[in-house]
Symmetry: C2
Subunit: 418 residues, 2 copies
C-alpha cells in the first residue's frame, strides 16, 4: 500500500531511500524555529488543521482558494484543510484578544495543505514556521519580525553570503496603482501580475498590467527608482542598529501574492537565486476586522517560513548535521544471570537523563557489540562480578576505546566524565 | 467565525477562556514524551495525516472504521484522516524495513482524527504519543515498552499512587475462546464484548458472549483465576528488576478493542478510576504482513498515549506547572536617543541565548515597566549615559528588586549571575 501522492513519510536517519524525508532533520529545524521564537518573546499557539471553508475563501485571494484541499464533512459542512495559518490566527486572536495585552507576539508550526490537480509531482503538504505580532501599527514591529526571520536562518548556520531579505511595501504599490488611475476592482490582478514579474513572460505580464490600467514599463520604472518609503527606511535603520543591515535590501519587485497585505511586505531568498522564497510575510492590518465581521479591529503582521525550501537549501549548503539516536550508552548482557542487575542499572542511568539502549535478548558478545556500534552509541556498559563476587560496571568509550571499571553506584559519574 | 465542532484551539497561558486549551501545557507534555522516548533509544518518525482509506478499513476492526473521518479527494481517491498511527507505521516499516537493523524502536506524536455523528460534544481530534518496537518476538520487548509508558508518566510527576498498568494477554483470551469452542468468525465480537465488561450492562455482555459461544460466567471465572501466562510472568519479572514492579498488575479484564492484537496487551489507568485509559497497547505480530500484502513479516508491538486524558489527569493532580513566556529580560527604552544602542544590546543578549523582549515603541516609563511585569520578565534592562557620556546598562532583578549597573559588554555576565 502506498502513501497518497504529494504527502511525505519522515524516517529516522540514515535515510532508507531518496524518496523519503528525514524526521531528524525536520525536528532539528523545528527546534531552531521554536528556540528563536521564544528568545524573541513569541508565545506558541495552534489551531485545527481543518477549518470551515469560508475562513479561507474570501480572505486570501483566488490563488490560494483554487488550491484548497476542501471537502464536505459527514455533517454536511464545507471544510478545508488549512492552506495557511493567518486566517486561523486572525480568528483566534479576534475571539480572545481582550485577554492579551497589546501587542502580543505569537508563533506556530502548523502543517499546511493544498491540492492542485494539474501538478502531480508537487507536494500537497508542508510545515511552516509562522510568527505574528498583533496590535502594533508602528514599523518597529515589522523590523522586529524581520529580525526574527534573519536570526532564525542564522541559527541554522546561514550567513549574509547565503541569503537576504527583500523588503517592499504593499502600500507603496497601492499608491502607485492609485496614481496610475488603476481600476480598483482589478487591484488583486495587479498585485498578482507584479508578484509574477520574475516568473512569467514579459508580454503576458504587460498584457495583464495594461488590463489593470498600467503597464510593464511604468511598473519597471517604479521598481528601478526604488525610493524607500519613510516606513521602509525606519525598518532598515532599526535592523541596521541590530547589526543586521547586511541582510536586508529594499526591492519593490516583491509585492506578495495574497490579497490581504496592507503595508510593508518582505521575502527571504537565497543569494544565488537557486530556490523559491525561503520565507515571506508582511502587514495585514485589515484581516482581523474582516474575519471577525467587524467586531475586532487590530493591526497585525506576520511571516511564514516553510520546511521544504529551507531543508533543500540547508542540504545544498552542507548545513544539516548527521543525525543518529544520540545514545550515551548501550548495555551488553554477556552473562544472562546479570540481566536483572543490568536492567536495574539502565533504569538508573535513564532516570539520570542518559539515553541508553541494550541487548533485549540473549545474543553472542560480538553481535551485541556490533549492534552498539550500528546504533552509534558513545559507550558500552557491561556488568560482571569480580573474584569477591561484587558487581563491577565496565564502561568503554567507543571512540577513545578507553575502558573503566567502577561500582554500579559510580557508573553515572563515570559515564558523565568519560 | 467559529472553529469546527470537536476541534481545539490552543492558546498561550494564562488561558483566555475555559473553552480553549493550553498550547504551553501541550508542548510541555510533548517535550516529556520526546525526551523519554529518546532516552529509551526510540527514534522519531512521522507519516501523512491523510492516508488511503483502505489502509484503515480492514485492519483495525469495525469500531474504528465506523468513526473514520473519511472523504473522497479531488482526484476521486477514497481517503481518511488517520484515526490511529499503527497502520501508517506498519506501512512505513514494511516499505523500508531492510534499511533498519532489527529490532528497531520508533516513536511519533501524530494528531489523530475521528468522526462520530452521534456524540456532538466529543472531541474529533487528539494528539497521541506512539512508540513501537519492530522485529522482536520476545517478551523482553514488551517489558521495555511498558517501562517506557511508566517512566514517561513518572517524568510528568505521576507516581505509583496515581496510576498502574493492567497487563493482559490477547493470546490467553484466544486460547480461552478456542477452549470454549467459540465461533472463530465471531472472535472480534467476543473481544469487543470482553473489552466492554466494565462499561456495558451484564445482561447485554452475557447475550453477546453467548452468541459467540461462551458466557459471562465463564469469562468472569477466567478473569478471577487470573493465572499469568509464562510470557506475562516474564514481563512482570523484567519490570520488577527495574524497580517498576509496583506499577504493573496482571488483569485479564483488559483485552483491547482493536482487531489486530496477538499477544500481551496492556492499559494504563489512574488508580482512582476517574478517567478513561491513559495509554494502551500491545503486540500485533501479523499486522505488518497484512498491510504489506504478505511481502514483509515482522513481529511488532506498540502503545498509544493520548493528550486529552493525560492533561485532564495532570490538571486534577495539580501536576501542571504555571507557564509564562520565560523572558529573561525586558528592555526599557526611557531615552529614545538610546534606542539603537538598546536594540544592539538586545541583539547581543538574544544571540547569547537569552529570551528578551522590549518596548517596541515610545511609551511612558511606568507603562513600560508594567509591561515587563505583565510579561513575567525576570529582569528589566535599561541603558543610560553617565556624566562622562559612557553607556551604562542597568539590570534589575524583578523578584529581588536588586539593580546592578554594568557596561554593555558586561551585561551578558550580569544577567547570567543575577
Amino acid at each position: 500500500m502506498e502513501r497518497l501522492p504529494g504527502f511525505r513519510d519522515f524516517y529516522p536517519e540514515p535515510l532508507p531511500h531518496s524518496d523519503v524525508w528525514s524526521c531528524d532533520a525536520r525536528q532539528y529545524v523545528f527546534d531552531k524555529w521554536r528556540t528563536m521564537a521564544r528568545r524573541y518573546g513569541f508565545r506558541e499557539y495552534d489551531g485545527p488543521p481543518l477549518e470551515p471553508l469560508e475562513l479561507f475563501t474570501t480572505k486570501s485571494g483566488d490563488e490560494i482558494v483554487r488550491q484548497l484541499y476542501n471537502f464536505t464533512d459527514k455533517g454536511d459542512r464545507p471544510v478545508a484543510m488549512r492552506p495557511e495559518m493567518t486566517p486561523t490566527l486572525a480568528r483566534m486572536a479576534a475571539a480572545h484578544e481582550r485577554a492579551y495585552k497589546k501587542p502580543f507576539k505569537w508563533f506556530a508550526i502548523p502543517q499546511l495543505f493544498r491540492y492542485e490537480k494539474q501538478q502531480r509531482g508537487r507536494l500537497r503538504e508542508h510545515f511552516q514556521f509562522n510568527a505574528d505580532v498583533i496590535g502594533e501599527p508602528e514599523a518597529a514591529a515589522d523590523a522586529e519580525l524581520i529580525a526574527l526571520v534573519i536570526d532564525t536562518l542564522r541559527s541554522l548556520g546561514l550567513t549574509a553570503d547565503d541569503f537576504w531579505v527583500r523588503l517592499s511595501s504593499r502600500r507603496a504599490w497601492q499608491d502607485f496603482y492609485a496614481n496610475a488611475n488603476g481600476d480598483p476592482t482589478r487591484a488583486y490582478e495587479f498585485y498578482q501580475a507584479v508578484d509574477k514579474l520574475e516568473r512569467d513572460k514579459p508580454e503576458e505580464i504587460d498584457q495583464k498590467l495594461r488590463a489593470a490600467g498600467t503597464s510593464l514599463e511604468a511598473v519597471t520604472r517604479f521598481i528601478e527608482a526604488g525610493e524607500p518609503t519613510a516606513e521602509l527606511k525606519q525598518i532598515v535603520d532599526d535592523l541596521g542598529a541590530r547589526g543586521l543591515g547586511d541582510y536586508v535590501k529594499v526591492d519593490y519587485r516583491v509585492i506578495r501574492g495574497l490579497a490581504y497585505y496592507t503595508g510593508p511586505v518582505f521575502e527571504a531568498f537565497d543569494r544565488k537565486g537557486e530556490f523559491r522564497a525561503i520565507a515571506g510575510g508582511g502587514r495585514y492590518d485589515n484581516l482581523i476586522k474582516l474575519i471577525s465581521g467587524g467586531k475586532v479591529d487590530l493591526p497585525a503582521l506576520g511571516f511564514g517560513m516553510g520546511d521544504v525550501v529551507l531543508l533543500e537549501l540547508l542540504k545544498s549548503r552542507g548545513l544539516l548535521p548527521k543525525f543518529d539516536g544520540g545514545l550515551d550508552a548501550f548495555g551488553l548482557v554477556e552473562d544472562e544471570a546479570l540481566r536483572p542487575q543490568t536492567l536495574a542499572l539502565i533504569q538508573r542511568l535513564r532516570g539520570a537523563g542518559f539515553a541508553v539502549d541494550y541487548a533485549l535478548t540473549k545474543a553472542k558478545s560480538d553481535k551485541q557489540f556490533k549492534r552498539a556500534q550500528d546504533l552509534g552509541a558513545k559507550h558500552t556498559l557491561r556488568l560482571e562480578r569480580n573474584e569477591a563476587g561484587a558487581l563491577l560496571a565496565k564502561i568503554r568509550n567507543l571512540s577513545t576505546r578507553k575502558e573503566s571499571a567502577v561500582t554500579p553506584d559510580e557508573a553515572e559519574a563515570a559515564l558523565r566524565s568519560s
